[in-house]
């Protein structure tokens, strides 16, 4: 099991990030709350429990790499980067506004700590593979983490990349599928059923770990299990993380309608009061 103090830090970070996500999307008047909230525990676990990185030295060569393939969940990445100290929190209120470094989808030319621009779905795993190849050529031991959505797996390129990573024995690659079951037009099952995600990656030769994407202790353990499994087998790993879209905001949970719209003033008030209650609870636990 993961140790207590670390996961407390992660849980507190995730709770704070959820509030930031809702507030920045409300301020922006548009954005993608559902898939940002579903990924909050995963991203918090990476940035505050798993990844080697340094906000004071974003280009540190030894850093692990993170690629947000589901680029529309930019707010969850921005919340994590702000929490980690990559930029001043004041920037969060500029999301999606003219001149902001917080673009609607992550822009590596504008934002410190973003390795590569994303937003067009299905590309992050290929990019992560290239990063892993380059780091391996240079003798590095850095890990490369790539977060995808489950709807995103409908993009054929994902499977070109799955094939390639296994063929190249890219054991430094860990993919995470934020499997919230919903996409813009409805449930992934109804829009275009992919079938078993884990089975498909396994068939390509990946190490597959199923995990509750909102259980921080389980996530920490799963990332460690993935590292061990990949080092042992030489194969890339994927965490298939079961999540709830809109997690943490009662009226957004498991509702495809909250894929890509901002809450109204009243909705924002309700959402932030719910999230503040969680923050208070986490603080009390700490």
């Amino acid at each position: 099991m993961a140790d207590g103090p670390t996961t407390d830090v992660i849980r507190r970070a995730a709770a704070g990030m959820r509030l930031d996500i809702v507030e920045m999307i409300a301020e922006a008047g548009s954005g993608h709350p559902g898939g940002s909230l579903s990924a909050a525990d995963i991203v918090a676990t990476l940035y505050f429990g798993v990844m080697r990185h340094d906000a004071d030295s974003p280009d540190m060569p030894e850093r692990d790499r993170f690629v947000l393939s589901k680029g529309h969940a930019a707010p969850v990445l921005y919340a994590a980067l702000a929490e980690a100290g990559y930029f001043d929190r004041e920037h969060l209120s500029t999301l999606r506004k003219l001149g902001s470094m917080l673009q609607g989808h992550p822009d590596s030319r504008k934002m410190p700590g973003v390795e590569v621009s994303t937003g067009s779905l299905g590309q992050g795993l290929s990019i992560s593979n290239g990063i892993a190849l380059g780091l391996r050529m240079d003798g590095g031991s850095q890990r490369v983490f790539c977060l995808m959505g489950d709807g995103e797996l409908q993009e054929g390129q994902v499977w070109e990349a799955a094939m390639f990573a296994a063929h190249q024995n890219l054991s430094s690659v860990t993919a995470i599928v934020d499997s919230n079951g919903l996409q813009i037009d409805g449930s992934c099952h109804e829009v275009m059923c992919l079938g078993g995600i884990g089975q498909k990656f396994a068939a390509f030769g990946w190490q597959v770990i199923e995990v509750d994407g909102h259980d921080v202790d389980a996530l920490v353990d799963a990332f460690e299990a993935a590292r061990v499994a990949s080092e042992t087998s030489g194969a890339p790993s994927v965490l298939v993380a079961g999540t709830v879209k809109g997690k943490g905001v009662s009226f957004m949970e498991d509702n495809a309608g909250w894929h890509g719209k901002a809450p109204s003033a009243d909705e924002t008030e309700q959402a932030t009061s719910e999230l503040r209650a969680v923050i208070a609870k986490e603080a009390a636990n700490g």
Binding site: V116, G119, S126, I127, G130, Q157
Partner: protein, 311 residues
Amino acid sequence: MGKATRAAFGETLVELVGEGVDVVAVEADLSKSTTTSTFAGVFPNRFFNVGIAEQNMIDVAAGLAVTGKVAFTGSFAVFATGRAYDQVRNTVCYSDLDVKLAPTHSGVTVGPDGGSHQMLEDIGLMRGLPGMRVLVPADFNSAKAALRTAAMTPGPFYVRLGRVGVEDVYPADTTFELGRAHVLREGRDVTLAACGLMVGQALKAADILADKGIMAEVIDVATIKPIDAETIVASARKTGAVVTCEEHSIIGGLGSAVAEVLSENTPVPMRRIGVRDVFGTSGEPTELLEHFGLTAGDIALAARELCAVTA
């Protein structure tokens, strides 16, 4: 006949690594055709074959570039720019990465494989992308220099290479000046602005025209982006008539780029030699150049008609 521009690809990459440039190549199952197999043979650890998966090819190269590699990609022009356009746009260019696309088999001189494989829209696709530089070398020696320039200059590049042998225009020690068009032959009556293998055709056309008493100026617009407006405008002001010559659609390519420059600076009558908004078709390369009106004779005829208008 000289070597094909594609023959420059693999061997230039080998030379660059020998000179200490951190070059890698990502290929999509066409290494023998593109000549990246030459590079793979010498530096197998710097060569990655993704199989028949061009989208993955571009983004794996992008990831390699993120780690500081100078990443060249292979495949044919139709697949590298068409099938993987979104990867080139949204990852390579939007992130401003050191990815150098140098696909081969551009234009109709692909030959018998036919229209599905004869890419005629690639210059248009690539030059519309912010940050992308577009080079169309005229011969083998120019192709070597262009590939070298792409490797040494940060950011995305498109180097357009072809399948068939072309006559040498430049000496073996030629250098490539990014953003410079080269006046290969001075004239006063009409400007022939060409790129790729059409440079050779334009030079022949100038000979034909000289016999008719028309002094044609021939410019190799080897860099289509950033285009050398200064040289093109100066020549157009001198001659008052411009014929563009390209093995590409007349929509979006060199002809369009030159028309954009001239219309804003010094509008003069123009003719565009190129493929006229149709797909290619099977045939031998020389037959196809005739079929689509891309020969020296076609250029000379267009130039004479233009001179008749402007005289």
